[in-house]
């Protein structure tokens, strides 16, 4: 989230796409309802914020929304694109913000083109783009600053390219692609259009219903472009707010258990980068305008050197380029599906899973099971048995044939250890250890530390390939086999090696090896004065603890970076430093300093100084990107069909699905596993229920009682055609596999009219499998309960996120 949960109460309009917060994030949803029930919020003269829910399924979120739009899954780029078109064509955008806070005025390379569904630079054989023509045109001179046209009239400026691009997204086109009736769409457009007024603000809330598509990255960008045109990023009540689905998914992204980043969103080094200088040159953003601070790019070297110093101590020094050669450089994409793809190709020997079950997560669980069967070994660290620890006796596999050695390492649960969780809104809360570990279970971090120690001892005894990063890794804990999480939290914060004191801000980090920090965005979370994540000054005294009344609660927990509650908050005020809406000020210039939230700006920089930095201090541009040449599948979001779709792309039928979606099976020359509309005519999507969290809740009796068995939601009209009633057993199959579950016949899911063509969508909750209480009660039936048996093994070009949320199935009634 750019903002945070409680901040949603500050919005006038809440657009909800690819999310069902009333059911999937129910307690966070109270802030949506507070906005709705607050008569000072809302478009026009107020009367309460408007909630607008676009979703394939009518849920409890829809039930309390002011407008519900049944949208075809995976078509949100067309919806947001239609809104962008409306906002531009009707001059509803926030003019001052667009001119000064976005790259609207930047001139793009004259050879940039978009035609017939393809951007310039496409290589059909590789299914990738060469991106040279997506670059900014430079001013002549040594600085190569970007050329701009502040009148926004140059045909090659970003604003004109965006305007032209989305002119195709008419209300009629939106209806044809999404299934949303034109009249309903125009009602939304009218409300959204009002949010470009400086004193109004809208938030966009989304979840994995937007990310889990082969166009996932662009789905989100299309919403962000709309928010930038309306001037709603950086403001209380605004922003782009991802509702994340696991307790510390945010923190584990920040700390980079993710192939493409190091802690603090530093890029992973790549082959060919011989030195830190090479690495920084490729990875760090460049200053593109004279008044762009380019904070991240400018300080990149300090962050990577401080990280290497933290990890390798005295072994990282100036003479060996701070042990840069210790960091592994991946050959290519090494994300989730790539792991199993490599296993299928016989190149992956061992997998360690901790609190994640590959078999249930999928996609294409049958293919993942085949991949697990090809491993030499699998280690599962988990408090409970999982579908991965038990995969070797899953349906379709004969244990005697599965040569994978499996290690089940019983781990402790969250309540048996301390440590911090970071929620969706970046609030870092410390938790106590409440009870001791059960039985002989051990903490994950102790298992990892001891395993590491034993591997290190083997290298020290027997030698082996490049032991240097192993033998020189710092494990400076009181007991290196049992590090305390408090010790690690202090290590992450970092310190000044000259004084030994922990740092309070990343502004103090150095690139000469005199500072450490395991994650630069967490500097200040644990300074000398203590663990800030333990702070508890909350709603027991709102007057004292929430001085602005906007819900920042600056002394409750801690929020990265630097306890800032709203990212990009310089953009909450105009160029002179006056808040767009004084009643909802993010920060404000009081004549001598910035007040309000922790400013995303030098605290005393006078905005009226002609040399004052531009508002988006992290970007090389100094402004936000409507047009982003760094995306792999196009600089402007474009609608593409899901890889499995019942219709051709109405914008460009010959370039229907994303031309850059990564087709794992095709690339590895495996058999095609995509189905066609002739065999599989029904659109399916997957989702969560309130009473379950992925798969672990299959171990919780009350929750299994509340939602005991899997099901598929089937539209009433389709059920009639197939002779299916609620409670009947049905088989749902895709090209990849099947599930056999009960039918729930309902109008929550329905039929869509796509310009004359009628299609059905069905919905499948993801929570069941062959492990857990319900599975033990139904050992035979539970063989065909995993929703991800159905989902396709294909990834978004940028993120390689699988297309869990849109695929084709057929449904039959079982006798």
């Amino acid at each position: 989230m750019t903002n945070h949960w409680r901040d949603i109460k500050n919005a006038d309009v809440i657009l909800i796409n690819g999310a069902n917060p009333a059911e999937a994030h129910p307690v966070g949803f109270q802030w949506f309802m507070q906005a709705k029930l607050d008569p000072t919020k809302g478009p026009g003269n107020g009367g309460g914020a408007k909630l607008i829910h676009a979703d394939p399924r009518f849920s409890r979120t829809s039930a309390v929304s002011d407008l519900y739009l049944r949208i075809r899954t995976g078509t949100d780029v067309a919806y947001f694109g239609g809104l962008i078109n409306y906002v531009i064509q009707n001059n509803k955008y926030h003019d001052e913000y667009v001119k000064n806070y976005t790259n609207a005025s930047f001139i793009i390379n004259k050879d940039y083109k978009f035609k017939d569904g393809l951007f310039s630079g496409y290589d059909a054989k590789k299914r990738t783009y060469a991106v040279e023509t997506w670059a900014y045109d430079n001013e002549p001179g040594p600085d190569k600053y970007a050329k701009r046209d502040e009148s926004l009239k140059d045909p090659h400026c970003v604003f004109q390219l965006i305007k032209n691009h989305y002119s195709r997204y008419t209300p009629e086109m939106v209806q044809t692609i999404t299934g949303i009736p034109k009249e309903d769409f125009l009602k939304v457009a009218q409300i959204v259009g009002e949010m470009g007024r400086p004193e109004k603000v809208m938030t966009i809330v989304y979840a994995v219903g937007l990310t889990h598509h082969t166009t996932g990255s662009q789905l989100i960008r299309s919403a962000a472009v709309l928010q930038l045109l309306l001037g709603n990023i950086g403001r209380p009540g605004g922003g782009m707010n991802a509702e994340r689905g696991h307790a510390n998914i945010q923190g584990n992204t920040d700390n980079a258990i993710s192939w493409e980043i190091l802690p603090g969103y530093l890029k992973v080094p790549l082959p060919g980068q011989k030195t830190i200088e090479d690495y920084v040159k490729v990875s760090a953003s460049k200053r593109l305008l004279g008044i762009s601070w380019n904070f991240f790019g400018t300080n990149y070297k300090k962050f990577i050197v401080s990280l290497l110093k933290t990890w390798y101590g005295d072994s990282a020094n100036k003479t060996n380029d701070f042990a840069f050669n210790y960091l592994p450089k991946p050959a290519g994409n090494s994300s989730w599906m790539s792991i199993y793809d490599q296993a299928l190709q016989g190149k992956m020997e061992g997998v360690m899973l901790s609190g994640m079950t590959a078999a249930s997560i999928g996609p294409d669980s049958n293919q993942v099971l085949a991949a697990l069967s090809k491993l030499k070994w699998l280690a599962v660290m988990d408090p409970f048995p999982t579908t991965s620890s038990e995969f070797w006796h899953a349906s379709g596999l004969n244990p005697a044939d599965v040569q994978t050695e499996v290690f089940m390492l019983p781990a402790t649960h969250w309540i048996e250890k301390d440590g911090s969780f970071v929620n969706s809104g970046r609030w870092m809360q410390w938790k106590d250890q409440v009870i001791p570990p059960v039985g002989d279970s051990r903490h994950d971090h102790w298992i990892i530390a001891e395993l590491f120690h034993r591997v290190k001892a083997l290298y020290q005894k027997d030698g082996g390939k490049f032991p240097d990063p192993i033998v020189h890794l710092t494990m400076d804990y009181k007991n290196p086999l049992k590090p305390e999480l408090d010790e690690i939290a202090r290590e992450v914060n970092g310190k000044d090696l000259k004084t030994g004191k922990r740092l309070a801000t990343f502004a103090k980090l150095m690139d000469d090896g005199t500072t450490t920090s395991g994650n630069w965005i967490y500097v200040g979370s644990y300074p000398e004065k203590g663990n800030m994540a333990k702070r508890r000054n909350g709603v027991q005294d709102p007057k004292k603890n929430d001085p602005t009344g906007l819900g920042f609660y600056p002394e409750y927990a801690w929020s990265w970076p630097l306890n800032r509650r709203i990212l990009y908050n310089r953009a909450s005020a105009d160029m002179s430093g006056k808040p767009w809406d004084p009643k909802r000020a993010g920060i404000a210039w009081n004549g001598s300093k910035w007040v309000g939230d922790v400013p995303d700006y030098p605290p005393k920089m006078n905005p009226k100084d002609p040399k004052a930095w531009l508002p988006f201090t992290m970007n090389g541009e100094g402004v936000a990107r409507l047009f982003a040449g760094s995306m792999l599948d196009g600089p402007i979001p474009e609608h593409y069909e899901p890889v499995e779709s019942p219709v051709k792309n109405a914008l460009h039928p010959d370039m229907s699905a994303s031309p850059t979606a990564f087709l794992y099976d095709k690339a590895a020359k495996r058999e095609n596993r995509f189905g066609t509309v002739d065999e599989y005519p029904i659109i399916a999507t997957t989702y969560r229920l309130t009473e379950h969290e992925h798969y672990v809740t299959q171990q919780v009796p009350h929750l299994v009682q509340l939602q005991p068995e899997p099901f598929v939601e089937i539209p009433t009209a389709l059920a009639k055609e197939r002779g299916v009633k609620t409670g009947d057993m049905v088989r749902v199959r895709s090209k990849r596999g099947k599930i056999e579950v009960r039918a729930v016949v309902t109008n929550r899911v329905g039929q869509l009219d796509l310009g004359g063509k009628k299609v059905y969508q069905v919905g499948i909750p993801i929570h069941w499998g062959y492990v857990g209480i319900a599975a033990e009660m139904h050992p035979e039936k539970s063989k065909f309960w995993m929703a991800n048996n159905l989902t396709p093994f294909v990834g978004d070009a940028n993120s390689r996120t699988p297309e869990f949320k849109a695929f084709l199935v057929q449904i039959e009634k079982l006798a």
Partner: protein, 195 residues
């Protein structure tokens, strides 16, 4: 952790008593009575702060524990933290049943090993388990380690091992995992954000 009574125990009890007297026409208020019963249940308990382990709203929770005579610690109750600006004491059905996750009798309590082709688990000591797994990690690393790629670039990576860490890791566990795995040369690192 601090040993305290439930927040505002006395003041709540006072209101509760008044409720019994005047709160209902029958002179008896079930809600108030059950409130008092709850309070007695956790009176004098140890109060610990935690966070719900499920979705990323990050509801702050309070766990009440009591030490038994044999020294074991028992969780009495888990409830939403009323002071938290995140949830103001509220919990959803999952958070409200967090105690069943915390005190489950369905846990794996000791290491289990399944040999290639075996049809059942066998129990194994931690020492044997970690020893065996450390050898597997070293062997796979040494077999699949690429020091220099085909273009002659120094890459120092382990191609044949992957680590995927769940999103119920605390920051500190996740950080340690990333630090250790990168140093073993792993490039296949993943967590729940993408899937």
């Amino acid at each position: 952790m601090a040993t305290v009574t439930r927040r505002g125990f006395l003041s709540w009890a006072g209101i509760g008593t008044a409720g019994i007297l005047v709160g209902s026409e029958l002179g008896f208020d079930l809600a108030q009575a059950s409130e008092i019963k709850q309070q007695l249940r956790i009176a004098g308990a140890t109060e610990a702060h935690s966070v719900c382990p499920y979705c990323a709203v990050g509801c702050s929770i309070i766990a009440y524990t009591r030490k038994a005579a044999d020294g074991s610690v028992k969780v009495l109750q888990i409830e939403g933290d009323p002071d938290s600006p995140v949830n103001e004491g509220r919990l959803c059905p999952k958070g409200a049943t967090a105690m069943q996750l915390a005190t489950s009798d369905r846990r794996v309590e000791q290491p289990l090993y399944r040999a290639p082709g075996a049809t059942a688990w066998q129990k194994m000591s931690w020492d044997d388990m970690l020893d065996k797994l450390a050898h597997r990690i070293k062997d796979s690393r040494d077999r699949t380690f690429v020091a220099t790629d085909k273009k002659g670039n120094l890459v120092n990576r382990t191609d044949g091992i992957a680590f995927a860490g769940g999103a119920t890791f605390s920051n500190e566990e996740g950080y340690l995992a990333a630090k250790v795995m990168r140093s073993l040369g792993l490039v296949y690192l993943e967590q729940q954000a993408r899937v």
